[in-house]
Amino acid sequence: MKIAITSTGNSLDALMDGRFGRCMYFVIYDTETGATEFVPNPNKEALEGAGPASVQLVASKGVEKVISGEFGSKVKAIFDSLKIQLVILKDPHITIGQIIEKFATQKK
C-alpha cells in the first residue's frame, strides 16, 4: 500500500507538515517495499485551490492513505469518493521517520 505524508522537508528527520494542500513536500511511502519518494509540492503557493490540486497529485500517485495535520473542507468529500483514507495526526513534533517507523513495526 502507498501512503502520502505531508512533510516540512525532504528528509526522514523532517517534521510532518500540519497542512495538507500547502505543505512543503509530499512523502510517498510504499509499505510493501519500504521505499520513500519526496515530492516538492508545486501547489504550496497556489492563489486558489491548493487543496484540490494536491488531491490530484497524491491520488495520481495511487495512494490509499494520506497522513497530515488537517484537511480542508473542499477535499474531504473527494478523498471519500476516491476511497482514500485520511489520517489526522495532532502531533506537531512527529518526524516523517517516526511515522514510517510505526508502519514498519505494525508489519512485523
Binding site: 485551490g49 491548493a50 484540490p52 491520488a59 495520481s60
Partner: protein, 285 residues
Amino acid sequence: MKIAIASGKGGTGKTFVATNLFYVAVKNGRNVTLADCDAEEPNVEGFLQGKPIRKKTVSQNLAVIDPEKCVYCGKCRDWCIYNAIICLEEQQKIYLLEDLCHDCGACLVACKFDAISETERRLGTVTTSVIEEDSVLTEARADVGIYSSVPVIKAALTASGTPSLLLMDAPPGISCPFITTVAPADFVVLVTEPTPFGLNDLKLSVETLEQLGKPYGVVVNRDGLGDHKVYDWLEEKNIPLLMKIPFDREIARIYSQSLLVAAEDDSYAKQFLLLLQKIEALCKN
C-alpha cells in the same frame, strides 16, 4: 470623480460616512450615485429610502462535465488556473469544484470531446433606486452562501454608470471584494477608530492601497475613545487626517434611528461638506 469609503476593520463607520457624504453632495445639487458594495451585508438602504426602478439578477456560468463523454485526458484540468478540476486518468474520475469555478470558459475551449457545457448559477441581485432627482442608490446584494461576492459588486459598479460623483461603500477587510470596490476609485477614504484594532486594520488597508497606488486619506470615527496611537501613526506616515468624528452619544442615537446626522444637525452637514471639498482638492493635486 469616484470615491471609495473603506476600512480594514468592520463597524468603524463606512456606511455612516458614505451616507452622510451622499446627503451633503445631493443637497449641493450634485449628480451623485452611491453604490453599496458591501454585498455580503448591504445596509445603506436603511438610511436612504428611494424608489426601486430596476432589479437585476447577477449570475455566472458554471462548467458542467459529462462523465459519459469525458475521456479523462486531463486537458481541461491543465487549462484551469483556478484548480477547479481534478482529473484522474487511472481511476477514470473527474471532479469539478463549483466554488473554484470562475466562469472563464477555458475548460470549454480545452475539451475536444464536447464533454463540458455550462449552466447558470445565481449569485445575487443589483437594485437601483432613485433617492432624489439625479441621485441614485445601487445596491449589490450577494445571495447567502456564495463563494465570492466579486461578480455582484462588479455588476453594481457597472449599473452605477458614470455620474459626476460616484461614492462606493466598500466591504470591510482587504480581500477581493475590497480590491474590486477600490480598483476604479480616484480616491479612497479609510474610516478607522482610535483603538488598537482600528490601527492594526488601518495599517493593513494602507499597505494594500500603497501597492495599488491609490491616493487615500483617513477619517477617525469615535474620536475620544481609545488612545492616541492612530494619530501618532498618521503623523509619522504623513497620511492626511481628513476628519475627526467625536465619540458622541447623540450621533449613536440618530444613527440607531436610521437617520442621517448631516440632516439632523447642521454643524455636521457643514463638516461633511468640508470633507467632500478636502477630498476633491486632494484629487486635483
